[in-house]
Symmetry: C2
Subunit: 250 residues, 2 copies
């Protein structure tokens, strides 16, 4: 088994709606002189995907509902922000102490429906999650195939908190070219010693690994992982969503 | 910023109570010819720590309580196993559909108090979590310092499920030589463009990264991570436990 490399790709510029993100990533790879190899995994923070796709909302265009006004009043939040968070959700999982945990329309459970209010463009601009992160991942994978003739996987991530454990970690929102789950049930190890009984969320482990470089520097929204061996399949991120009937914490 | 390497350490033999695990790890490092460098992070699966420390229970010695008999009867479980799971816990978080989610005495929330019934030694032998994983981590760190004169960090991990998301991921149980949380609040990035507002659970990201190699092969309980830059501090894993008052899912 070979080592896995987590390779930083610095220097990706600010992304704006309509930008060709793939060309930014390939330019960063060229600057680092690491090339693109078959089997590489591009791990990409959702924020640059959302920006490139225009998944951006100007709060000045939002009229909050009376419910949003009421929630916002209780916790000194911006009622327009609350309105966006509710509109981006399919369900409220918890609402307490000013924290709103929702299930997004994709099925991810996270704070504030993943709506990001950090002032990238200005005080009233918020960034929402990409509409279809798997489609975004497939587009980038296909563009890399067309431009560099390499078969890669793409994982789109966001930074989430967790129940019970402090600190944020990078999680998967979208995939292309890799199965987000690795099913080891029934397999024995190389020595034939022990049976595995597990399904591993490898996409989330790849996301977390990339997070080691991403989170220290907001200017590094893309990380290259090389040397991780996986089956090349289409993949779909919704396999990572635990079915409601098997979930004790809905 | 440099690349991070996740280096496999194959060939670690079955571990038994009293074994010198550090010598097994150093022998694997020598076989791989990678040496030990200052700043290396050894990520070690709890199972080999528990085995070396004798954190092993023979179910033949367990007399289940009436409550354990009752729970076991409902779900066709071994009442002696249920008894061990309850004894290893400080609190039951959920008990439903035959799944028992507990809070361990350390404060970790996980299935079955982390008790592992895979038949490593025989049908009636179960492995429990190490009593004090930080102390276990410190011991290995100190032994590596004494034997190789290198200052490393140690992370002890276990494989847990998560609410809402399918698939298992490697999580931190114990640390030595590294702060499990990286506090970026108030920092700007290299370009001075954007403020971070996050505390990152870097120990869990390192654990997950190691999981990419560990989980595929039960014979690889130790993985070496090289090139991750962190502050050398004593560290304590309980910083990863979200305070009850900030936890919406207890």
């Amino acid at each position: 088994m070979n080592a896995i490399s987590i390779i930083p790709l610095p220097g990706i510029p600010q992304v704006h709606p309509g930008d060709d993100l793939t060309s930014f990533i390939l330019a960063a790879i060229d600057r680092e002189n690491v090339g693109v190899e078959n089997g590489d995994v591009f791990v990409i923070c959702q924020k640059v995907i959302s920006k490139a796709e225009g998944a951006i909302i100007d709060l000045k265009t939002i009229t909050p509902s009376p419910f949003s006004e009421q929630i916002a009043g209780l916790w000194e939040k911006d009622p327009r922000m609350v309105e966006v968070v509710l509109c981006e959700s399919s369900r409220i999982v918890r609402m307490k102490n000013g924290v709103i945990i929702t299930e997004t329309k994709h099925g991810w459970v996270c704070a504030n429906s993943g709506v990001d209010a950090s002032n990238s463009y200005g005080d009233d601009i918020v960034i929402v999650l990409p509409k279809d992160p798997d489609a975004s991942a497939r587009r980038i994978r296909d563009e890399v195939k067309a431009r560099r003739n390499a078969t890669i996987a793409v994982i789109i991530t966001d930074t989430f908190g967790r129940p019970w454990r402090d600190g944020l970690v990078e999680f998967t929102l979208g995939v292309a070219g890799i199965d987000p789950l690795l099913d080891l049930r029934g397999q024995s190890d190389l020595q034939g010693r022990e049976l595995h009984h597990t399904v591993v969320a490898v996409a989330d482990e790849l996301a977390a690994a990339a997070g080691l470089l991403m989170e220290k520097d907001a200017a590094m929204p893309v990380v290259l992982i090389r040397g991780y061996r996986y089956a090349q399949v289409e993949g779909e991120s919704k396999k990572l969503i635990r079915p409601a009937e098997a979930d004790l914490f809905r």
